[in-house]
């Protein structure tokens, strides 16, 4: 049995639900989607052949597709779109949806489902994907009528992009995809404006800033879209500035006011500053447990001003003195405008203490993962993108990379998703083909989505540079077992069975380089970056290295281990 080729109606209007889907996406400016076909979404893929202007990137696993869509969205700030079929295709999206929800990534996931007449009968490849994804999406839909499709898509996209962004899933039964469609495409909904910050509270925040002797500005992921405003705020008031894992790049690392990242693997300067500050102004962050350490010991001397778009985040973890609901950029602009004219205020005592803390912490002087990551990330240009997986290499990269611009740092912050880094870089690389997208991944996480090497090859993607930091272990778990489980290394060793990563790359047509010492690494990096096309670099490092500074779980930031208790440390800041 063969199906007739898809035909649009003579007017060019969509003739069925599947065509209405693509028309709607095109009307919303969607140019690239990431996906994987299957039985229950075949009408959508059939209709895709009518839309040459929409680029579909075929991944090798739905998880790869959704992380790529996330990478696209994180780098550009625009909507990421991914598609999957029903059942297993849809459930393979779950990790990416949870990841996007945690990190506030605007994402639209389209899934096919079995025909409505079979829904609820345990039909082949049926899964209740709206039920399954209900806790990991901002909202989700089952489309019951093709006529509703354009309206649902416009609403879904508005929800994904507005306020605090997040993922939305639209599940379309196969018969709805095939149903005749006679309506029109719904134009994009305007995004609702951010709530106006309460002027009295903004003035109260300015008053706190005027009176502060030891102020600190903390920036989270919500500041990524407001780098200019938050930078102007910091400079206008002379505020020492901390960027969380999600906030890296929202403030230029080259600015002398920058103190680094806070939290479990934060810099000594950032964590000591929080612990001694008398005022913390937090913009667009949610005081995650990895940032605060033990909450009762967090910023014990500080008054806290918390600015966030999401009212539910204010006061959720850290009690707030002055809550302000609003957009980080808008509030930053208002607060910057209330700074006095002329040079920002100086606070010599506070600056002297910060300067001393900046000299503390750091990494071992000898060859290891920290030195390797430092060598690799120091080659990033200001426009280049760095994507990481999750674990030790991620924390080292966060500590050691120096971002000057927002949206150049792609990392799975809230969910901590292994397997994220490489496909996310593919998405970013497709969004910004002129920009080098560097991946730093561990040998564990890289193997979770390594099949996407085929995606690089298939689309001739030339700007993804993969660095696998290979310590033969699940290093972060190993570090915790070392520190807190008396070195009972339970199920963390990979070295006896890791592939030859260069051969793996070669199997997909990618060149590779390997180094296991600093001098060779320097040369290998040059060759790897100079190669005209995507390439892999494997850095073999000793396995018993930890990431420091470290705040043990349950400890206050002030109780951090500044350096590895077993290793001598090189001078200079972390």
């Amino acid at each position: 049995m063969s199906h007739a080729p898809p035909t649009p109606s003579p007017s060019g209007a969509p003739a069925n639900g599947a065509q209405a889907l693509w028309h709607s996406l095109a009307a919303h400016g969607v140019t690239t989607v990431f996906g994987y076909p299957g039985g229950a979404i075949m009408p959508v893929y059939d209709a895709l052949t009518l839309f040459p202007d929409i680029r579909h990137i075929l991944a090798r696993h739905e998880q790869g597709a959704i992380h790529a869509a996330e990478g696209w969205a994180r780098a550009t700030g625009r909507l990421g779109v991914c598609l999957a079929t029903s059942g297993p295709g849809a459930t393979n999206l779950v990790t990416g949806l949870a990841d996007a929800l945690m990190d506030s990534v605007p994402l639209l996931a389209i899934t096919g489902n079995v025909p409505r007449s079979l829904m609820g009968t345990d039909a082949f490849q049926e899964a209740d994907i709206t039920g399954i994804t209900l806790p990991v999406t901002k909202h989700n839909y089952v489309v019951q009528d093709a006529a509703d499709l354009p309206g649902i898509l416009a609403e879904a996209i508005r929800i994904a992009r507005s306020g605090r962004p997040g993922p939305v899933l639209v599940d379309i039964p196969k018969d709805v995809q095939l149903a005749p469609f006679a309506g029109a495409v719904t134009p994009p909904h305007p995004l609702p404006p951010a709530p106006t910050p309460d002027p009295a509270r903004v003035e109260a925040a300015a008053e706190l800033l005027r009176g502060a002797a030891r102020p600190v500005l903390m920036l989270g992921g919500g500041a990524q879209g407001a780098a200019a405003e938050v930078t102007a705020l910091a400079r206008a008031w002379g505020l020492p500035t901390i960027t969380t894992l999600m906030g890296l790049g929202a403030f230029p690392a080259s600015d002398p006011l920058w103190l680094g990242m806070p939290g479990m693997h934060g810099s000594v300067a950032a964590n000591r500053a929080i612990s001694e500050a008398d005022l913390i102004v937090g913009l667009g962050l949610r005081f995650d447990d990895r940032v605060t350490g033990r909450v009762s010991g967090f910023a014990p001397h500080a008054r806290i001003v918390h600015v966030d778009l999401d009212a539910a985040e204010i006061g959720k973890i850290v009690p707030t003195h002055l809550p302000i609901r609003g957009d980080a950029g808008q509030v930053a602009r208002l607060l910057a405008g209330r700074a006095g004219a002329g040079d920002p205020p100086r606070r010599p005592d506070w600056e002297a203490r910060l300067a001393e803390w900046r000299t503390r912490g750091g990494h071992p002087d000898h060859w290891g993962a920290a030195q390797a990551v430092r060598q690799v990330v120091s080659r990033l240009g200001p426009n280049d993108i760095l994507s990481t997986d999750v674990g030790q290499h991620q924390m080292l990269a966060a500590q050691l990379a120096r971002f000057q611009k927002p949206r150049r740092w792609l990392t799975s912050g809230g969910l901590g998703t292994m397997g994220f880094g490489f496909p996310a870089a593919i998405g970013a690389a497709l969004a910004e083909p002129e920009v080098t997208c560097m991946v730093v991944a561990g040998d564990g996480g890289f193997q979770m989505t390594a099949q996407e090497l085929a995606t690089l090859t298939k689309y001739g993607i030339r700007n993804v540079k993969i660095c696998v930091v290979n310590n033969s272990y699940l290093g972060m778990v190993r570090q915790w077992q070392e520190l807190f489980h008396e070195r009972r290394y339970s199920e963390v060793y990979l070295g006896d069975s890791n592939p030859d990563f260069l051969k793996l790359a070669d199997a997909y047509g990618l060149p590779g380089w390997r180094a296991d010492n600093a001098a060779d690494l320097e040369e290998a990096i040059s060759a790897w970056l100079a190669h005209d096309g995507s390439a892999l670099l494997e850095v073999v490092v000793p396995n018993e290295h930890g990431v420091f500074p470290m705040v043990p779980a349950g400890a206050a930031l002030s109780e951090m281990l500044e350096t590895d208790p077993r290793s001598p440390v090189a001078g200079g800041p972390a």
Binding site: L134, P192, A312, T320
Partner: protein, 190 residues
């Protein structure tokens, strides 16, 4: 201090809206004591009344999380304003020829109605606030309670106005945030 908080949640009458709400409560560990749902004067809008037990800050957090759900139009904490609330109880009480008169007398005192008469049981309908309903049950307990069903509390704000104006339901995009909750004042540290 942990206490009962009476919330009204106005929701779009969409598939799974109850699941969305109970799933939210479940995964964030909020404690629901009672929950009742019904239609409202607005087509397409349902009203949930729930009693949430917890510290004030936790309940405020629960309200803010509820307000983020797309299908939630409005959340009201009745402790912030004057309200009327009622609960309906159906209770089947065991009777004997000796106790019959006394049971009926107590029911009369509570203005309970007999809705079913059996040879060995009477079924009563009682409405009132939670205290009255509970007191009635306590009075009946010595006679032998066979079965009960309580609806949980339902509530409306006192006064002449609707809790939210009709345009909120139909505006689609403008969603009301409970003003008192928008800024997180319950989390202020002193």
């Amino acid at each position: 201090m942990s206490a009962d908080h009476l919330l009204s949640v106005l929701v779009r009458d969409e598939p799974r809206v109850l699941t969305r709400i109970t799933s939210l409560f479940g995964r964030r560990g909020y404690n629901i004591r009672s929950l009742s749902v019904g239609t409202t004067e607005q087509p397409g809008v349902s009203r949930l009344t729930c009693v949430v037990t917890g510290e004030r800050a936790v309940v405020v957090q629960a309200m803010r999380q509820l307000e983020k759900l797309h299908d939630v139009l409005h959340v009201i904490d009745h402790s912030l304003e004057k309200f009327v609330d009622r609960e309906l109880l159906l209770v089947k009480v065991a009777i004997t020829p000796e106790s019959r008169v006394e049971v009926r007398q107590i029911a009369e005192d509570f203005r309970a109605r007999i809705v079913d008469v059996g040879r060995r049981a009477l079924t009563f309908e009682v409405t009132g606030d939670e205290g009255k309903v509970t007191a009635f049950l306590e009075q009946m307990r010595p006679f032998g309670i066979i079965e009960t069903m309580r609806t949980g509390r339902v509530a409306l704000t006192r006064g002449s106005n609707a809790d939210i104006p009709a345009h909120v339901y139909h505006g689609g995009q403008s969603r009301a945030l409970t003003p008192a909750l928008a800024e997180g004042e319950a989390s202020l540290r002193s």
